[in-house]
Symmetry: C2
């Protein structure tokens, strides 16, 4: 059985159940698992481990590519089975355990997250890897994501493979597996355009390390489809208008430069916006291929898309899997230290579009923390791209919760992407081009173009009062975080609420 999927002789005898395989995960172990933006994650063994831990307490440190699907992180957190988690997560139950201090979370740049392993700070005991198949030489062909699997397969002492028979074998060939090696002998990453292929199609491993093979047939968790609304449409409109302006100025052509877009309805709406605009021969050098990517390919607008994973809706997944031979010449999946490599992002001049939780009047971006303290998901790849992109763009709605929260604030309550790494900020009210501007200039254009009118006057007042006090980046320290304090105390950033209480 499974001769097509397990070509290495002798390995078929290692097929076992998820429950059996999960017994290899012992208390205190460091476990590495495939999975990036809910794609190509462990479908069976981690869940089986959560079930075991529920009855018989044990904890592991879990490292992945990025987020897992199917509520696996939540099950592990509910079973109190996680000591530490890195480098990213999106699960509401796990998030709660992180914020109440039960689970330690190491929030890392995704493009760097393999380095603690390469540098022997962390040594995974076991790696769990979802695979399309195992080749004759024992090498592993991943499924819908590559993530950190190359590093995990190299460093782990033992490997459990989950062969997912729901993923068609025609996916074979979409991966480009390359390692730049480890210090002090790192090599050049010779990618000079989004489509350059530099590696092989499977991940080399020592097959003797495979201690168990589990057969699964569960597909990836589908991406939620967020219909464009008026706000996301407005943000996309401002950005498209900006790109047209840059073309007129001669700084860009209608081909733009390779695009990166974070996950999120705003970023997705912007990409969808390109299906209608005058842009063409677009390329993508990103970390995730989303519905919009395939829509742009189908619309004849996008020539090539490179990423580390495919995270799409159920409909798009079916369309893709049924038409793989058609899409394969246009896409590639890379390890996340290549998809997010500073070297390549800078060389290609990527246009990077990510979602902010909030930004301040000087252009500092909070990508992770509610009110400076409570983790949402993690920095992800946002700063891998923002730090090295040609254009680093952050988008958010100007206000939310019926206006109770302003996403343009006097001082960001946490800073993941500093003013130095932020070129353009956009809300539904407008766009601020910060390139070449000093802080006082930035404040003027951000307040005037991006803030919700309901908060504009107070932002202006704050800025003017701070300017009177002086400084290169004027602030009133006693008021700088007061909007967040009001939010915590009264459920709204609005000053009026204080007056009402008096």
């Amino acid at each position: 059985m499974y001769e097509e999927r397990i070509k290495r002789s002798g390995l078929q005898s290692r097929i076992t159940s998820a429950a059996d395989a999960a017994t290899h995960l012992r208390d205190g172990m460091i476990v590495a698992s495939s999975g990036f933006t809910k794609a190509g994650d462990s479908k069976a063994v981690l869940k089986a481990f959560a079930a075991i831990a529920q009855d018989s307490p044990r904890k592991i440190t879990l490292i992945t590519g990025a987020s897992l699907g199917h509520g696996t992180d939540g099950m592990l957190a509910s079973a109190h089975a996680l000591h530490k988690r890195s480098p990213f997560q999106v699960d509401p139950i796990l998030r709660n355990s992180i914020n109440n201090g039960e689970v330690l979370f190491n929030d890392q740049h995704l493009g760097e997250s393999a380095e603690l392993i390469h540098e022997n700070i962390l040594q995974p005991d076991i790696a769990i890897i979802e695979a399309l198949m195992i080749e004759e030489d024992g090498s592993i062909v991943p499924t819908t994501s590559v993530g950190n699997t190359v590093a995990f397969a190299t460093a782990a002492k033992k490997i459990i493979v989950e062969i997912n028979i729901s993923v068609p074998l025609t996916l074979h060939g979409v991966h480009d597996i390359f390692s730049a090696g480890i210090w002090p002998n790192r090599q050049i990453i010779p990618i000079t355009n989004a489509g350059t292929r530099i590696g092989r199609t499977s991940i080399p491993i020592d097959p003797e390390k495979i201690i168990a093979i589990v057969i699964t047939e569960t597909t990836d968790s589908p991406a939620a489809i967020n219909e464009r609304d008026d706000k996301t449409r407005a943000i996309a409109g401002h950005l498209l208008q900006f790109f047209e302006h840059e073309v007129k100025k001669g700084r860009l052509t209608h081909q733009l430069r390779p695009l990166q877009s974070g996950i999120g309805k705003v970023a997705n709406a912007v990409l969808e916006g390109f299906t209608e605009g005058s842009f063409h021969h677009l390329t993508m050098y990103s970390e995730v291929l989303q519905d919009s990517t395939f829509n742009l390919i189908d619309a004849g607008k996008m020539d090539f898309a490179s990423a580390s994973s495919i995270t799409v809706s159920q409909d798009c997944y079916q369309r893709l899997m049924r038409n793989l031979e058609k899409y394969k010449p246009n896409i590639v999946l890379r390890p996340q230290d290549i998809s997010n490599a500073a070297e390549v992002i800078r060389r290609l001049g990527v246009i990077s579009i990510n979602t902010a939780i909030e930004f301040d009047i000087y252009g500092n971006v909070n990508s992770t923390h509610i009110a400076g303290t409570r983790m949402m998901n993690g920095i992800g790849g946002s700063n891998d791209f923002a730090r090295n992109a040609y254009l680093s763009i952050f988008v958010t709605q100007a206000s939310s919760k019926a206006g109770a929260i302003s996403h343009v604030v006097p001082m960001a309550s946490h800073i993941d992407n500093s003013e130095h790494d932020v070129d353009i900020v956009v809300t539904d009210f407008g766009l601020a081009d910060l390139r070449g501007l000093a802080p006082r200039e930035r404040a003027n254009v951000i307040i005037s173009n991006c803030a919700d009118p309901a908060y504009k006057e107070e932002l202006k007042d704050y800025f003017l009062a701070a300017c009177k006090k002086g400084g290169h980046t004027p602030h009133l320290l006693q008021e700088a975080l007061s909007w967040h304090q009001r939010m915590e105390q009264q459920g709204s950033m609005k000053k009026e609420n204080i007056l009402q209480d008096i």
Copy 2:
């Protein structure tokens, strides 16, 4: 005259006085000038312009490589001759003008500062370039820094050359001039070790753009010599001990990896510490060569050093210039977009050591702003290195001004290098290795190892109270910046001062 220095025929007739040359600088112009860490800067024309502006008001935007020497920035600020300045400065008079809002300052990553020019956001009207000589083909050989001169020479409509005859011609050959090109056709930067030479020894320009040549003979401003004191010695000691520990763990060899060190007495003391330790065959991939570099070369400890400038004491300058043929095989000067290139820093696995103004209990670093508002110098190259280094280290004294200021604070009042980019923090009290740690773990080790004992209890109290409130990164927003407010109001961060006042 000056046949040895001006080899291009026809250019000698363009020799003129600094005062004459300075008349080309008109009100509202964008002027680019050589100069990086006070090395290879304009010695005559900018000063002559300041003198003109003193009598007859006019303002320019001034872009350089980094800081200028000889009080030039101060003269320009005093003459109210600056509209905007970028990307870095260290002058107390200019700093004051920046902080009172008179001069706009665009504080930029040094490795990226040429990009606004390449991308046609800023177009210099005139470039002023200090040169060792002009070659037959009109190309310019720089002096003690390369900085942004390649970009300036390419983009400026007109060029004024200052031939500095005080710099010996034997410096010729020390430069390695390379451009990766501009988007969308950027090339690989093929440096695979600190010593790789990839370019030519002079900067190609169109000689028709040279509108004036000024002869100068003023040497660079010497670097201040900061004797090691007990605190810097203690910091250096902690770091050397850490490196020995990493060697024992097998993560490093005694050769370490290419070193980068910012300017500052602490960073310099650390490098000097290597002359005594068991480390050898060291290399440097940095932005500035300092006294310690040449001391390490002389001590047989350092094999090669790459940077964008040479900024040394008067004694070291004499020693270097008299023995250039000896040192030349061991050093190279590169454009700052190459010395500070993300691509190369990451590939080589640089060990980066920079000075912090303060860091917080979670490892966020403020490199630029006093009390979150008043600019000191600028981010410089610190984040070019910290973001992409193998090890990103920040050093500072635990407290200063007789203990009135703690440099370990609850929340950094400005963030230039986020927790994600900081691996190691060190004070005279100790070192905290933050790799792989979650925020609550980081707080424990930073408070315990790095804080001044006089502030330790209050930091612990803050952290514990914040943990009770919860969150991945626990903070009390109403108290987070209170130490800086106390400093502003009472001249000390100490809580006791409040009690004394009551």
